[in-house]
């Protein structure tokens, strides 16, 4: 439930609406970066993604560690990724 998956910002889609495109393990989807409005987010930054929202800016080091950790969760990770793939945030 409180799973956070690291993603890398690949595009600022709509700065006004705080939408950015992130790459999570090869899958690209739009997420809201509204909660990081103070963080001056740039393309290339890594964030922790939770239910379609970037909740914290993280460094690449933390991203690698966390990605490995959540991938080891096996089925739960797959469910999270599947849900992420189905996400249709406008």
């Amino acid at each position: 439930m409180c799973l956070g998956i690291p993603g890398q910002v690949v595009e600022i889609v709509d700065a006004e609406q705080s939408l950015a495109k992130v790459d999570v393990n090869g899958v690209r989807r739009n997420i809201s970066v509204r909660l990081l409005a103070d963080d001056n987010l740039q393309v290339g930054d890594w964030v922790l993604v939770h239910v379609g929202f970037a909740m914290a800016k993280i460094d690449e080091h933390e991203a690698a560690v966390t990605l490995d950790q959540v991938q080891k969760m096996g089925e739960n990770y797959q469910q999270e990724i599947d849900a992420f793939i189905d996400s249709e945030i406008a």
Partner: protein
């Protein structure tokens, strides 16, 4: 993957375990990990087996799926079955049993129940179905509440009129306080939740050392994070210190996420009290939609039954959630209650102590041996 290895290094684990064993000496310690994500890591990696016997980890109430009382699930099912409603929920909640079955069964009976990844996906469903009313089943601690907050703000900005939130967000501090007040349990300290703390920061936990004299260390989710945090707790105790420390500094800032806190304050208000499964009513422990956002509040829009339903008698989730008993000590664990046919909520979510133990408990020894544990 060199970074990963740093957090998995068996030599580092061994060194930490040795240091923990030395610090603990012949005294006994009982630390509670508040967060379900930690419970998952602990069972997944057999950390209980790595620690000396004198250091016990007990599992706390920090699994948002686990603490939803049956009456709220019944209300959710009632909402899902109203004509014209599309009921949206996180997948985790689909199998949580109410008194008349779960949301999967409601869907099978014809209710339009859809699982979504994000509350923003639920809002999209509303935009795509202007002739239907879309309800989002909002659950979760402060990790998840900000996402609902942003969604409410966005719903207003877009002028959406067919969307509401059935708000069941809960807050982390009141249950910690309830556990500290509980006579059942004598704790030596807490492992604080990682992702909740990215939002709330460290300040809300100050009462733990200041009022109750217990140390608290906010911990990350890697096995070495857990061991390092246990070490920090013991070090505090041996130094005669008692404070809130942050082990998860690479993600958690002391002040938390101020944007998230501001948005939550705008869109939610505290409920006078809220029922927690197994823990009973806890005052000011949950959020409801703020009156300024009343048009998006499912509880104001619908005349829900709101009936309180007692937990099933056989189920001991309450004791598990308070750390009074271990999952396998429950009378129905692994027999009547399994992840396929859960009686209690702790068996539903992968972060629930019972499901985590059921799925990984048997792997303990193997993993522990790989990491080169004691005897």
């Amino acid at each position: 993957m060199k970074f990963v290895d740093e957090f998995r290094d068996p030599a580092a684990a061994r060194a930490l375990v040795k240091s923990i064993t030395d610090l603990a000496g012949s005294d006994e310690f009982k630390f509670m990990e508040v967060c379900g994500g930690h419970t998952h890591t602990i069972y997944r990696h057999g950390i209980e087996h790595l620690l000396p016997e004198a250091v016990e980890l007990v599992h706390g109430p920090g699994c948002p799926v686990c603490v939803i009382p049956m009456g709220r699930v019944d209300d959710a099912m009632w909402l899902a079955e109203q004509p014209g409603v599309i009921f949206t929920t996180f997948g985790d909640m689909m199998r949580v049993p109410g008194s008349k079955g779960n949301l999967i069964e409601a869907k099978a009976r014809g209710a339009d129940v859809r699982f979504v990844y994000s509350p923003l996906d639920a809002l999209k469903v509303a935009l795509d179905n202007p002739d239907r009313h879309v309800v989002f089943f909002a659950v979760g601690f402060e990790t998840t509440a900000p996402s609902t907050a942003v969604t409410l703000v966005r719903a207003r900005a877009l002028g959406v009129e067919n969307f509401s939130v059935f708000c069941n967000h809960v807050t982390i501090v009141p249950p910690i306080k309830a556990i500290l007040e509980s006579p059942d349990l004598r704790l030596s300290g807490f492992l604080g939740p990682g992702h909740v703390s990215t939002v709330v920061g460290l300040r809300p936990y100050r009462f733990v050392p200041e009022v109750y004299g217990k140390p608290m260390v906010v911990a990350g989710f890697e096995p070495l994070d857990i061991l390092a945090s246990v070490h920090m707790l013991l070090q505090q105790i041996r130094d005669g210190r008692c404070e809130v420390e942050n082990q998860y500094t690479r993600v958690v800032r002391p002040e938390g996420n101020t944007q998230a806190l501001k948005l939550m304050a705008e869109t939610f208000e505290l409920r006078p009290h809220f029922e927690w499964r197994g823990l009973g009513f806890i005052s000011q422990s949950a959020l409801k939609v703020h009156p300024d956002y009343a048009e998006f509040d499912a509880e104001r829009k619908f005349d829900m039954p709101g009936v309180r339903v007692a937990d099933p008698k056989a189920c001991q989730c309450g004791e598990v959630l308070k750390g009074v008993i271990k999952p396998w000590e429950c009378k129905v664990f692994g027999t009547a209650c399994t992840p396929e046919t859960p009686i209690g909520t702790c068996m539903v979510s992968p972060e629930g102590a019972c499901a985590a133990y059921y799925n990984f408990g048997r792997l303990h020894r193997e993993t522990a041996q790989l990491l080169g544990q004691r005897g």
